[in-house]
Amino acid sequence: MTTKGTQEVLGSFHGDGVFPIDWNEGERDLFWIFDDLHIPNPVSPMFFDIGGWWLTCDHMFRRFGTPFASDWLAKNVNGYVYHAAIPADPSLAIESSEYQARYTARVPRGEWAAGIGAYLGAVLPHYAENFLDWWRDRLRPEIERNFAYLDDALEREQTLVELGVLLEDAIDIHDRHWKIHWMLNFAQFSATMALNGTIAEVKGDVDPALVGRLQSSVEDRNWDAIQALWTMKDEVRDDAELSAAFASETAEPVLRALAGSDRGRRFLTERLDPHRKEFGNKAIWSHEFVYPTWRENPAPIIETIRAYLATNYDYPATLAAVTEDLEAAKRELMQGIPEGEGREQLKGALELSLRMNPLTPDHHFYIDQATNAYVRLVLIAIGRAFVEAGTLDDPESVFFLHYNELRVLIGEPQSIDANDVAGDRRDEREKSFAVRPPEWIGTATESQLAFPYYTLWGFPEKFHRKPSEQADTIQGLAGSPGVVEGIARLVRSTDEFDQVEDGEILVCQMTNPAWVVLFTRIGGLVTDAGGVASHPAVVAREFGLPAVVGTSVATERIATGDRVRVNGATGTVDLLVLGTDVK
């Protein structure tokens, strides 16, 4: 690694009037990528302070002795999370924040980083060969014990002080689980690299699609959750009383109908509640605290069962198809390889890699989803205690406090006007939705762009791609939150309903109850007329569809076939590509 001064600068963006950036020491020279992969929406202050995946990366790089990087930092710019890997370069001095405190990026003292690659090369195969045993015998049980501890604590009545201490336990658990996450990642990465290397050596070039198919998993927590939902679907389908309860258009009345009969209540306590506890520790976005978990709000579970009912989803057949495809891919890979050392080598690498496949869904289940979900559950318990104490109006405002404000408030409940502070930050986050964050900021150099993990975010290709044309925008009223991109379908009357295809954006003058049949099909909604309390807005919220209402001009300016982006939080519709341009 050479020092920063000798690298040719390929490009830079250090902020402008639309997207101003405050830089700390050393930050400007780094290449920062917008983390749209994990946190595409404006981040809450609490998540940025204590929830980030980046917080444990110093441990990851130290443990493995990576020669190419020694830390990973995140930066909150106008509400959006940017991140940068820190080269293992002794000359760098970069200041950042973690847990709301000054944090100086870890870089090597002395020149040892130049020689540490040999260590990494030596230990990686050891991780690949042994990680599954560690996971099964030691790490997964540890994670499950931690969750059991938090479950038990959350079920008890607790004082604010007790909850404050529980939050520290949750942060420690988060820290530990993310350290495990990176070990798992490296182990899996090593097994995949070994397989790809052996394939190249023994077989030569193969179709990348085949390599992808070889990564399927057929036994993991994700399949467990699907099987459980499928079992519930069959039970509902085969029971008249349950079927009737599931006939409503949205989850809320389904839940109410279930609560209204003995049979329904039995379904709730014996099926839905255990499912919520076991599989519900997740939300629509994992890397954020503000979104309710399925455990708290089971509407998505109900919607999934309803969707399974509509198609009479066949779990065994689906699983069998995936299994069969995996077997076929294995045969395809081994085909034409003669008996001998090479074949045995490939077989061994394939078997190891295949055994690691379930780790992908399973680490999402236990770490990305559940570990963040548990921190949310502890925080929301604190939020409720704050409401009880008169500190907050809304438990959800707790995510808009900073970590140390929350702790100050536990020590002295009225010391900060928490409602005002959190309320203003929530307003700010809502306004941030209107900002389109650039894909990268800072300084681009060849070596920074080449950081191996950046391919996950589409770099370096994204850096060289031409920016898209400035979109034409229509302003309306925010009807139902969420952002969706899709093909517009202009519908002028009920006669045109059958033309609407799944996932399209419905563009119309106004809706009335006759239009509700469309809401199960469309991906979003734009109307000329109506306010926030009007029919299209109300029903869109019930269906969880992004909607912009009251635009006055949507049906004039948008035509069927246009590609549009509907931002239901800001009330804007971007016209991205006109349908006529596609032809």
Binding site: P253, D393, E396, P481, P513, A529, G531, A533
Partner: protein, 271 residues
Amino acid sequence: MTEVVVWFDDSPCLDLRVSGGKGASLAAMAAAGLNVPPGFVVRADVMASLVDAEALRACARELDWAAAQKLVGACRPPREQIGLAYDRLGGSVAVRSSACAEDSEEASFAGQQETFLEVEGAEDVCDRVVECWASFFSERALFYRSQKGSLDDLDMAVVVQRMIDAEKSGVLFTVDPVARRRDRLLVEAVFGLGEQVVSGEVTPDHYIVDRNGHVKTERLVHGGVLTAEELKTLVTAGTSLEERFGGPQDIEWAIVGDSLFLLQSRPVTTL
């Protein structure tokens, strides 16, 4: 036949099965001493007692809306009782259907049932009551209830309420249902009658306020329908209704002079 109508301030009116969702909510507001325009409810069981209920259910089950509406349309409403009640109220009234199914209000499928404004004279009121009953068997309504598995349900009350000559009107959500926030309230307001807000005919002035009544954001189309004082009064009324009904509310209101009238309150379930 026993009782045909109940007044908002009669205690049976609090019963959802007697007066439907709208009627029961108005009775609850009246009972709480809130400023509700006076009115009465044509009880939910009246319609079924005037028709061949089994034949009507059969039509509904077959989704034969035309036949069902014909049956209902041919019934003879108890003109005398309704007329007497109307005369006590007098003047211009609103006639609205008020369904009893548990979710009829909460489902928020606004416009699902009939509303008639500025109805005058006992004859017209009776005719509109029958039309409200018939609306319960429209093609749309039957489709909706067939989805819910409640086609056998014939209970449908009708609210008759004195019209308020509103100078300003609109809706108030005691939460921000779009941002899903309980620390904010949402107000939409127009000059004149509030039906325009709900039906979407007119784009209203739009305010987001905190729980002390301070405006946090506003989008004014009509140059500011509400004064700061009026917004505070609305917030106070809204938070007290929220407390009384034990959850966030979606409220229709009207202002005449210095008086705030509450026309309807229903739970917000999509937070």
